[in-house]
């Protein structure tokens, strides 16, 4: 181990203050890792110069896989030879980010042998990220991980590592088993995850209720958002308990219901369930009194993404309701059709949401064989530019 301690005046400042410090973490790693030391040094330089020092992404990986590793080289490799290569390995996290202490230690041990000793718990997509190693270490790291039961996640134009909320494991509102669905889909598409087959990345996230604790709607090409079809389950006496312990049910619940479909007459809460849009607010406020209905499943939404390149998209409704026990089959069939269409018509680096924008939702629905339903839209078109389908002359 090199023993000259990096000089990091600017970074040292970030060890002050109450929030846990990432600088402290890098320094900890630097006790046993030369690359963590050089990382500190290079980062200090970036702080001085207000400029990053990484070169444009590399293309490295493990045999038989087309993704799972983000190649990275320093543009100051001579100055900081231990981060001249500093590739990141994306490890597919266990669904719900549950671990045992042993599992964590196993990962630590492998990473101590092969990399910088730094991790992200977790990456924004959901992967467990092993931050920084050399090309030669990739294959050994990968195989040791595999022996320990871990595999790589996605990168590039692949099916990206799906993620899910904690769902049934520890949440009373889960309308379907998000962790199981996430796991099953991950297993079903190992090939698509590891050998990028698509025009661009494809992300999938499972949130077991409309609170969407995994931000699926904003970030996933396919979002599976739990919901229910029947009536909110009400425990009258618990409602009264909330009220008597100070909840202003009119103001804090009824008035904030987006469709105003709840009424409180001072004694009884009534809900016009067919007006309820399943927003969760009332349930969130009174978890002990209200619960999602019993006929549970999910709404399937499509097309969420960040701004590049035609602007960010929020996901939009594709199937308004799929019963919980039909989710796996339905999603698989749906993915097959969506990917076929995308494969056929998608441009290079065009996310599915952008493709739908480009060809129009009606054409996309035709392509994947879904009937249009009004739940897919917030309102019908307001422009009269209708592509009436071709009629032959004389025909009606």
């Amino acid at each position: 181990m090199p023993d000259d301690n990096p000089k990091t005046e600017l970074l040292d400042e970030l060890e002050n203050g109450p929030w846990p410090s990432f600088v402290k973490e890098v320094k900890l790693a630097a006790q046993t890792s030369a690359s963590a030391q050089d990382l500190l040094r290079q980062l200090e330089l970036s702080y001085q110069e207000k400029k990053g020092h990484w070169k444009h992404g590399g293309l490295v990986g493990v045999l038989g896989y087309g993704g799972g590793v983000i190649g990275r080289y320093s543009d100051a490799g001579e100055q900081f030879p231990n981060v001249a290569h500093f590739h990141t390995i994306r490890v597919n996290q266990p669904a719900g980010w549950f671990y045992t202490s042993d599992a964590l230690r196993t990962i630590c041990d492998i990473w101590e042998r092969h990399g910088s000793g730094l991790t992200n718990m977790h990456g924004s997509t959901g992967d467990l990220i092993l931050l920084g190693t050399r090309t030669a270490e990739l294959e050994p790291t990968f195989q040791e991980l595999a022996q320990a039961g871990f595999d790589l996640g996605g990168s590039g134009s692949s099916f990206r590592t799906p993620s899910c909320c904690v769902g049934m494991a520890r949440c009373e509102w889960a309308c379907y088993d998000a962790m199981k669905l996430c796991y099953d889909l991950t297993m079903a598409y190992q090939d698509e995850m590891h050998r990028p087959p698509f025009p661009y990345k494809f992300k999938l996230k499972c949130a077991a209720c409309p609170n969407d604790c995994v931000a699926a709607i904003a970030r996933a090409d396919l979002s599976i958002i739990g919901t229910w079809k029947d009536e909110i389950q009400v425990d009258e006496s618990a409602v009264k308990t909330y009220v008597s312990s100070g909840l202003n049910i009119q103001k804090d619940v009824c008035d904030l219901c987006p469709t105003k479909c709840m009424a409180w007459d001072g004694h009884k809460l009534s809900i016009e369930n067919h007006e309820c849009v399943r927003c969760m607010h009332c349930i969130n406020v009174m978890p002990q009194a209200l619960r999602p209905g019993k006929e549970r499943g999910a709404v399937i939404m499509i097309g969420g993404k960040a701004p590049i390149m035609q602007g960010a998209l929020l996901s939009s409704v594709l199937i308004p309701f799929v019963a919980a026990d039909e989710l796996l089959d339905t999603v698989k069939e749906l993915l097959r059709r969506i990917w076929d269409f995308w494969d056929e018509y998608g441009n290079n680096r065009e996310r599915i949401g952008e493709l739908i924008q480009r060809v129009g939702l009606p054409a996309f629905l035709d392509g994947i064989g879904l009937e249009p339903v009004p739940e897919m839209i917030s309102a019908p078109r307001d422009n009269p530019y209708i592509f009436y389908q071709a009629r032959k002359d004389g025909e009606k």
Partner: protein
């Protein structure tokens, strides 16, 4: 190093989550009845069976060394039967069956420097990205910004006294890895100069891909030394960096011109109102490591004005929609500029298309 001795394994997928579930969770899986918030960072889920699982949540910097991970593992062994998890916002959660262990665990976490909180109407951990730690595109450092902002709003993590949840995100470039585009407050690294075309372009880049990558069509084919290359129409460039993503010969980083923009009012939950995008609050603040005082001040300002003016259960975006954007700018004192007015594709839909005006 023994791996090579074994047969090569591929496509095994992640470990099955069941292996890592606390026995009480396995038993009551899908049978939770309700939850209670016991204290900031501590909640309890009660199962139909009557069983109770206690969660203690602690903040982490996300960037964790194996040294620290081993400490977490040790805490789990000591307090929660070895079971722990991470949240979708990079917090750490210990799962306890014995309420008596909550306080000792909290004490030990706090002593180690890991604050307990982030639940309910608190500011939770900041979702963020790589920054100068690992990414080539970054206009700023993500981890550093997170540290500075969380230091400043620390009490909002350990207390739950905001009108509603407040979610902050940082992304270091317009790719917006994370959920910056739908956050209550977002800090976004921005470039402000067009790419500087490098002579190596003809060797290292696919020209048609490069041209197709520009959202505004600012990249035009050009011939350089008899080879297919490109030129950038600078007035049409809005510095998104997508050209650099596909072509290393179009670097964007520039110490003097890179900086930060601040966005507000996004959300992803469907609670009450529909999910919303974050909207521009401040178009540009300078990159001032290591403490980014201007950014911290702006975020604190938003948080405090929000805390003071919003009604209970109102997320930042819901609050601003109620009071109107003109009032938001008045209350925060942020300047309203030409940059706030959209001029991209759907711009006209963001114009005020009614005579509804507040005075």
């Amino acid at each position: 190093m023994t791996a090579s001795a074994e047969p090569r394994l591929t496509d095994i997928g992640p470990p099955h989550y069941e292996k890592y579930l606390h026995p009480l969770i396995k038993k009551n899986y899908g049978q939770w009845r309700y939850h209670e918030n016991l204290a900031p960072g501590v909640y309890c889920h009660i199962a139909e069976s009557g069983d109770r699982i206690y969660t203690v949540r602690a903040g982490t910097p996300r960037l964790l060394s194996i040294q620290t991970l081993r400490i977490f593992a040790g805490l789990a062994d000591k307090y929660s039967g070895g079971y722990l998890r991470f949240t979708s916002r990079n917090n750490l959660e210990f799962l306890l069956d014995d309420p008596a262990r909550i306080e000792p665990l909290k004490r030990e976490l706090i002593a180690l420097g890991y604050p307990v909180g982030g639940t309910n109407n608190a500011i939770s951990n900041i979702v963020h990205t790589q920054g100068w730690i690992h990414c080539h595109s970054s206009a700023t450092d993500a981890s550093g910004l997170v540290k500075c902002v969380m230091d400043a709003v620390y009490d909002r993590f350990t207390h739950e006294d905001l009108p509603a949840k407040l979610r902050i995100a940082v992304a270091c470039c317009l790719n917006m890895c994370g959920a910056v585009h739908c956050s209550d407050i977002a800090i976004l690294g921005v470039h402000r100069l067009p790419p500087k075309i490098q002579p190596t372009l003809t060797k290292v880049c696919e020209v048609p891909t490069l041209i197709a990558a520009c959202p505004t069509g600012a990249i035009r084919p050009a011939t350089v030394d008899g080879k297919n290359s490109v030129a950038v129409v600078e007035q049409q460039c809005m510095y998104c960096g997508n050209c650099y993503t596909v072509c290393s010969a179009m670097p964007m980083n520039d110490a003097d011109n890179d900086g930060l923009s601040i966005w507000v009012g996004g959300k992803v939950s469907n609670a009450r109102s529909a999910p919303k995008f974050s909207k521009l609050a401040i178009p540009f603040l300078p990159n001032h490591p290591p403490r980014w005082p201007e950014v911290v001040e702006a975020v604190v300002k938003i948080v405090e004005v929000y805390a003071q003016h919003a009604r209970k259960y109102e997320r930042v975006g819901e609050w601003i929609e109620r009071i109107g954007w003109p009032r938001f700018f008045q209350l925060t004192g942020f300047e309203f500029t030409r940059y706030h007015i959209d001029d991209f594709k759907h711009a006209a839909l963001t114009y005020a298309r009614s005579a509804h005006v507040r005075y």
